[in-house]
């Protein structure tokens, strides 16, 4: 299969999974903004995305995308290190036009995945997971069950803690760097690029990615300062 056996194919896997995740982030960010304006509205969305078949299929799909992207990130990096050889240059200078993010995609990705773990612990483990366990007939205490759709409550609880707020800001910063390179790089890998579109994809990518990150950041800030519907 050329997707796994050729270098270009492996990059296609990376870019398609990456772009799919960007589309998900766009949706997730838009959804989160509701929490700033309406507690009922946001918790309704949370209920809607509880342990229903469509939400579970979506979650499984996302998990698969992250695993594929993550596994191929390591496969590519290991192959590339081998191709580079063991002997390093004594003097190395980053040439003009080479972004810092482009040379540190794996490190940035690892920060993103650690942040994702924290995020699942803060939210998913209190919301969708107990509901699923409950449906499977396992015991979940009633206080947890009562708040599985209280997304707004968990946002307020998490981000009033300065340590969590700071960790989420670091996470979002790493994601911003990862995606400012990742977005146009994905277009380049898929071959939908040329001299004219190079600048366009870069600009489009920077706008989309910055909007995504600012949207998420707004919720962290609103949670931290208790603004809007996230106030007391």
């Amino acid at each position: 299969m050329w997707l796994t056996k050729s270098s270009v194919g492996r990059k296609v896997i990376m870019s398609v999974s990456g772009v799919a995740l960007v589309l998900f982030l766009l949706f997730h960010m838009a959804m989160n903004l509701v929490a700033i304006f309406s507690t009922e509205g946001y918790n309704m969305i949370c209920e809607f995305l509880g342990a229903n078949w469509y939400a579970l299929v979506g979650t499984a799909g996302l998990a698969a995308l992250v695993v594929v992207h993550f596994v191929y990130a390591f496969v590519l990096t290991i192959q590339n290190r081998k191709a580079r050889g063991s002997q390093r240059y004594a003097v190395a200078e980053r040439p003009k036009g080479v972004s810092w993010a482009s040379q540190n995609m794996l490190a940035l990705g690892i920060i993103v995945v650690v942040g994702l773990g924290l995020h699942l612990f803060n939210f998913w483990a209190n919301m969708q997971l107990p509901e699923v366990l409950h449906k499977l007939g396992m015991h979940v205490d009633s206080a947890t069950m009562a708040s599985v759709a209280d997304g707004s409550g968990y946002i307020a609880k998490t981000f009033t803690c300065p340590v969590y707020a700071a960790l989420y800001v670091i996470w979002l910063a790493a994601l911003w760097f990862h995606l400012t390179h990742g977005f146009w790089s994905a277009m380049q890998t898929l071959g939908i690029n040329n001299k004219v579109w190079f600048c366009r994809w870069k600009a489009i990518g920077n706008v989309i990615v910055t909007l995504i990150i600012l949207g998420f950041l707004a919720v962290v800030v609103a949670g931290f300062f208790g603004l809007g519907a996230l106030g007391a």
């Binding site: 270098s7 194919g9 050889g85 004594a90 995609m105 146009w184 071959g191």
Partner: protein, 251 residues
Amino acid sequence: MDKNISFTLKVWRQRGPKAKGAFETYQMKDIPGDTSFLEMLDILNEQLVNENKEPVAFDHDCREGICGMCSLYVNGHPHGPATGATTCQLYMRRFKDGDTITVEPWRSAGFPVIRDLMVDRTAFDKIQQAGGYVSINTGGMPDANAIPIGKDVAEEAMDAAACIGCGACVAACKNGSAMLFVSAKVSQFALLPQGKVEAAKRVKAMVAKMDELGFGNCTNTRACEAECPKCVSISNIARLNREFIKAKLKD
């Protein structure tokens, strides 16, 4: 007139492919600024021969930027600090009196060191032999002129054909990827009517050979185009990806 400069030269010395290499330091005195980098190495070698020492081995041929043989990694850049120029087109006036200049061979698993600053680049020949040619009868020059080709397309093909196969793109790449070279060789044909006929077969064969020889997966860092002495653009890599994906989807 350029000023004369004196500087310290740190050169990678390695007796053979398997031998362990190390840097040797040499003091260079009163080198005129209009000496080319390779002429400066000739001066060093003459000194070494006079002292009954082994001269430094390095590749070179045309010394005018067209053959692609010269391959030195100077102060952290393939072909040195100048842009759009090969090592043989680099002049000592770029450096300052008292500088330390570090000279290394291309470093990539695909280009093993033969001796000192010389590396084995036959991997590129093998990729070319896999499909970097046109095997149909395209007629003579008048026949070519009978096919109208848009100016922008002709220019783009010519820019790709400017690649001299020096390997600086691989040397610059943190992934040891040969994509810029292969994409230039694929593009110079894929853009033109005579080359389009075999485009799908060519791109598959050349990428397969490139992968088989162990070159890395391109992650679009753009170090290659920044260091390429012929300013070959990464838009060629996008074309290579496009041609490859199209060819595979058709199969």
